[in-house]
Symmetry: C2
């Protein structure tokens, strides 16, 4: 799909430009903190969340400029969760996107502050853009969304993993919180930036929910099947520490089938936007078919 590749490429360029604009320069005092924030953010990420903001905004007829602050905001929020996740107190990961993690390079204390500051900058950037965006993202990112999912994930670690209804319910809660909440909000933010109707915002939220759940199912699959070179991080860690993953509960085949089902659900919503939904459709395909 040449369109997907060129869309993803332009989304990365626009996301990086928006982040460059949103982040304090590397020589702003305290310089080490701002260098470390930039180290974490400019690490060759796929920029999937900003790409979803952009695609959703375009699908609603909004301009690329209108959604630039939201593109930067979702990536800063995502990056802060990664920086904190990688801390020795959390997952204790030394490798992320093929490079030493933030705390390995800058120390644990600065890495805590880098994550904190990226979250604050995310809301400062969104607030400057105005409208209901701050409320939308804060709701998704908080203790009943992203952070709640991480806590559920922590608590599930080491517990019995089987295909019982309790395990399945917990898994779904983890996936909805940890991953889908922010991907859903990215799509909603794009629609909000385009000043779409509440109905359209909700429709894009449903697209994001399906795409977000698919994203996490694929992450679970890749953790068991991909190499460290493909992932740029240590694979197999989830299984090794007894994490509750889609593959552990349902098996590899059912996981793949579920990802395909969610992709089809997302694609159907994207198609309802006609030609304007082409980038959304590309993204839904990319999320499920990526190898890293």
């Amino acid at each position: 799909m040449p369109n997907t590749a060129s869309f993803l490429e332009s989304a990365v360029a626009l996301a990086d430009a928006a982040l460059e604009q949103a982040l304090p320069s590397a020589d702003t005092a305290p310089a080490t903190l701002h260098q470390a924030m930039r180290y974490a953010v400019f690490a060759g990420g796929k920029r999937i969340r900003p790409a979803l903001v952009l695609a959703a905004c375009r699908a609603c007829g909004g301009s690329d400029a209108a959604c630039a602050p939201a593109m930067a905001a979702v990536e800063m929020l995502h990056t802060y969760t990664l920086v904190h996740d990688d801390l020795p107190a959390m997952d204790d990961d030394d490798l992320r996107r093929g490079r030493p993690t933030c705390h390995v390079v800058y120390g644990d204390a600065t890495a805590v502050l880098v994550g904190d500051a990226l979250q604050t900058q995310c809301f400062e950037t969104l607030a400057a853009a105005g409208g209901p965006a701050v409320a939308c993202l804060a709701r998704a990112a908080g203790s009943r969304g992203v952070i709640g999912g991480q806590q559920d994930d922590l608590e599930a670690e080491g517990s019995t993993v089987d295909d019982s209804p309790a395990c399945k319910a917990r898994l779904e809660r983890i996936h909805r919180g940890k991953t889908a909440a922010l991907i859903r909000a990215s799509c909603e933010l794009g629609a909000l930036a385009a000043e779409a109707s509440p109905e359209t915002v909700a429709t894009l939220g449903r697209f994001g929910e399906a795409a977000g759940l698919a994203f996490q199912v694929i992450d679970d699959i890749l953790d068991t099947t991909a190499s460290v070179e493909d992932l740029g991080k240590t694979p197999g860690k989830d299984a090794a520490c007894g994490k509750l993953t889609y593959v552990a509960v349902y098996g590899l085949e059912a996981a793949r089938a579920e990802a395909d089902r969610l992709r089809d659900e997302a694609v159907a919503i994207a198609q309802s936007f006609g030609a304007g939904g082409a980038d959304l459709q590309s993204l839904a395909g990319f999320i499920v078919d990526r190898g890293y």
Copy 2:
């Protein structure tokens, strides 16, 4: 000063009610996370920052109800910085407000998430109240404000402490960032909640800056003179780890004189609000004369 005591008491009651309203209930899933957030927030704090929001709002003729979300927001923001500060990766403190710190009770990983979630909830609560409050607080709380001051503080640890111009400049930057930025923003948020003019918001900002700097000078003094019972946390730690404090650079007597000077500056601004500034005046006095 009986007025000061009764004002502080009513401010604590209003702050606690606003926090009760803003925080998810303790049985909301994931329950451990929400219990831990409440453990950190409801720990018998002095609620100085919400009290400043309230006093500034009243000075500008605003209602107590108008500033309730901002009162909750500044305290959640302040609490998140304490929870992260106390982490083993940061200051490694086991005692806060006379109780075991959040990470001691709930573990390091959950304490990271508690701090993250309190920051998110802070912006969600402020966003629901509308207006320019999110931008005001995010600017104060970010890498060029509170978090920047903490990074400066980290980097100063163990460096040479003397009365050179470089040390003095660094000390002022730490105090402005680490402490004064949020106290200043608390006063500005109270004025914004009362829909005060930009000039009045700026005047209350100057009040908050003076009060905030005084607050940190007094903190530095108390760290060398108070007992663990008075403070509810371990005293002498700053001096022990070679932190850059006002007392270390200027000595105890000059520190006391500077606190008095800043108090007088704040009181003069409070007096310019006439009878409406009485609570602000009380707070400026309390900040400088407190023994804990």
